[in-house]
């Protein structure tokens, strides 16, 4: 099993390259850790973890810089995922920030480890979620109280696209704009697949942009895997003060792994079979190899002089998480 240690993330952050390229490296290394976590746990939502990963990385590393020392600040930026089942990816990002320890993330779904859905008892987690539809309402409450108490900091909540079939979502879209709670940003991880089928075949969301705009929101849409485009949207959002804001981020379920990207899977299969569950040993090894070769190519293409996994392959190749050395 392969993990990428915290020190590599630190190293990448210090490289003299642009933020978008840094984010690409961090995302792929987090993908390695997420895969390993899910493999050890024997279960976990792999497809949505991969589709949301780039958004997590951009928001946590580059947009809001949530570091360990800020976790209790009243003025901190608050980010959480309403769908919650993408939490393996979020844990891996929290690890890459030094908030969680390696020992924590490798005990995913264990009784003394990390919960299968977000829980406040875990460092860096801001709300208990997982049951769909509640996140915007809760984020709205956080925003309202922040405004009332004069606490600074933004509030961003990620939702799924299938989640937009929940009625509470539309209650919250309506009340947020009416109550002038304009410091809220919602991002939809629009990966087009819910569980194993196309959202449009289960219940079509139709023109989501127009629908949300009709509720009094400012809506943007962009490629949810392009860091430069996500960055641009956030910069645009900063200027909009009179409306709550929503980003439809077009993503790919299983992004970054050939075998499980929905755009590829759905060409061959009727159903998407990577919503949850762990890869087999063979699949796991192939997936890890794919990510490593991608990172290596990117390093040589950018004429960089570092190797974030040479040591991982040699020293961190482990049979079980118990034998890992902990940073």
């Amino acid at each position: 099993m392969i993990v990428s240690s915290y020190k590599y993330f630190e190293k990448i952050r210090k490289l003299k390259i642009n933020d978008y390229l840094k984010a690409e490296f961090i995302s792929d290394l987090c993908r390695i850790n997420t895969l390993t976590m899910i493999k050890i746990a024997g279960s976990g939502h792999i497809g949505t973890s991969m589709s949301a990963m780039d958004l997590f990385v951009w928001i946590k590393h580059f947009e809001y810089h949530n570091k360990l020392k800020n976790l209790k600040s009243k003025n901190r930026n608050i980010f959480f995922s309403s769908k919650g089942h993408d939490v393996p990816a979020l844990y891996s990002v929290l690890y890459s920030l030094g908030v969680l320890k390696l020992n924590d993330i490798l005990k995913l779904r264990k009784i003394d480890g990390l919960d299968g859905h977000p829980d406040l008892s875990i460092k860096g987690i801001e709300a208990n979620t997982g049951s769909l539809g509640m996140g915007i309402s809760k984020a709205k409450g956080i925003c309202w109280a922040k405004n009332k108490l004069g606490h600074k900091g933004s509030v961003v909540v990620l939702t799924g696209d299938g989640e937009f079939q929940e009625g509470q979502i539309f209650e919250s879209l309506q009340t947020t704009s009416h109550q002038n709670i304009n410091n809220l940003i919602v991002i939809i991880d629009h990966n087009k697949i819910q569980s194993s089928q196309y959202v449009k075949n289960i219940i079509d969301l139709r023109d989501l942009k127009r629908k949300v705009e009709a509720f009094g929101w400012h809506v943007e849409r962009c490629d949810g895997h392009s860091f430069s485009k996500i960055d641009q949207v956030f910069k645009k959002f900063e200027k909009i003060k009179n409306k709550p804001k929503l980003l439809i981020a077009d993503t790919i379920k299983g992004k970054g792994l050939n075998k499980i990207e929905h755009t590829k899977v759905m060409k061959k299969n009727k159903y998407y079979n990577w919503h949850s569950g762990a890869p087999s040993d063979k699949e796991y090894n192939e997936m890890i190899k794919e990510i490593i070769s991608r990172i290596k190519k990117k390093i040589s293409k950018n004429r960089l002089n570092f190797d974030p996994f040479e040591k991982i392959e040699k020293n961190k190749l482990i049979k079980s998480y118990k034998s890992l050395d902990i940073h």
Binding site: D119, L120, E126, A127, N128, T129, S131, G133, M134, S137, K138, A139, K140, G141, I142, C143, W144, A145, K146, K148, L149, H151, G167, Q168, E171, S172, Q174, T175, H178, Q179
Partner: protein, 320 residues
């Protein structure tokens, strides 16, 4: 007009809420457009920045309260008990798992008034909240006790609270009550001191019928102890043991479904403490969907009027 309602539970709740909100600046009130019975408009007028009108969107309101509580404030959430605790039950559960504190106002709790019918009468709210581990549920008897219960919930209680509120004017029997109400969490108050028979109940409507029943029972030389049990789901074991041991017949009468109400909770506690042995225990409550009608009609239909209660009680006591 409001001054005429001085001794209504609902009006008293709002007056107390205003009083306590002056002391505790963290209180925020959320409402799903059912503020008229409580006259929450008065609260909104005094604290416009601490009142959130959330419209008829209970799930959104409850989750929003969860977010507010995460920021360290104390949300007080209002809607009819039947809508609040059933429709938004999962949201209430989710908030509870975050171990914050929220006060839920279960307005229009119980069978009566019964004119609105089964969509509005709330006979399930105790059972719906009871299985959430960090919840305290209360049903104050009158305008004095509601102030005491609210004070406890705001300033003393660490867990989430639900306060069941009867709507409508107080009954004659409650107005005539001589006992000075002194609320203690987990401990009931003896309204009449009798022997052999003890009746645990709550809420102005059903307790009034029990008070009338006791008058008829006197003729048969039966003098029950009536306990106003305004705490629904946790009890002082010492107190419960003491009062149960003094009596042979134990009755619980719920203004709620017979399943999952006060009766079940007392029975469970008596069983757990092994004090049920050699006692005759009877649980009375509502066993069907609630009927629509006038107060008198519906009490009679559900056999909770004084005459029906008399018959039920005398049959149980006699047969033993």
């Amino acid at each position: 007009m409001q001054s005429e309602k001085k001794n209504w539970i609902t009006n008293s709740l709002t007056e107390s809420l205003i009083k306590f909100s002056k002391k505790n600046k963290n209180i925020v009130v959320l409402d799903a457009d059912l503020s008229d019975d409580l006259n929450l408009k008065k609260f909104a007028k005094i604290f416009p920045n601490r009142f959130i009108q959330n419209g008829i969107a209970e799930q959104d309101m409850v989750s929003m309260a969860g977010g507010i509580a995460l920021q360290g404030m104390l949300p007080v959430v209002n809607s009819f008990a039947s809508f609040l605790t059933a429709r938004a039950n999962e949201q209430i559960y989710n908030n509870a798992t975050e171990n914050t504190k929220i006060i839920y106002l279960n307005l229009y709790a119980g069978l009566l008034p019964a004119g609105a019918g089964k969509s509005h009468q709330s006979l399930r709210d105790i059972s719906l909240l009871n299985s959430i581990p960090n919840f305290r549920i209360f049903h104050p008897l009158n305008y004095i006790e509601v102030d005491q219960v609210l004070k406890h919930c705001i300033f003393k209680e660490k867990k989430n609270c639900a306060i069941r509120l009867s709507i409508g004017p107080p009954t004659k029997e409650i107005l005539k009550l001589k006992t000075r109400i002194n609320f203690k969490p987990g401990i009931g108050q003896e309204i009449t001191k009798g022997k052999k028979v003890v009746i645990f109940s709550y809420g102005q409507y059903v307790l009034s019928e029990i008070l009338k029943t006791v008058e008829i029972l006197k003729i048969k030389n039966i003098f029950p102890t009536i306990v106003n049990m305004s705490t629904m789901n946790f009890f002082s074991t010492k107190w419960l043991k003491k009062i149960v041991n003094k009596h042979d017949y134990i009755f619980t009468i719920d203004d709620h479904s017979i399943s999952g109400g006060l009766g079940d909770n007392i029975l469970n506690e008596l069983n757990k403490q092994k004090i049920i042995k050699n006692k005759n225990f009877f649980k009375i409550g509502i066993e069907t969907f609630p009927e629509c009608g006038t107060v008198e009609e519906v009490l009679k239909y559900h056999k909770l009027d004084s005459k029906s209660l008399y018959k039920t009680l005398i049959s149980k006591i006699k047969n033993r």
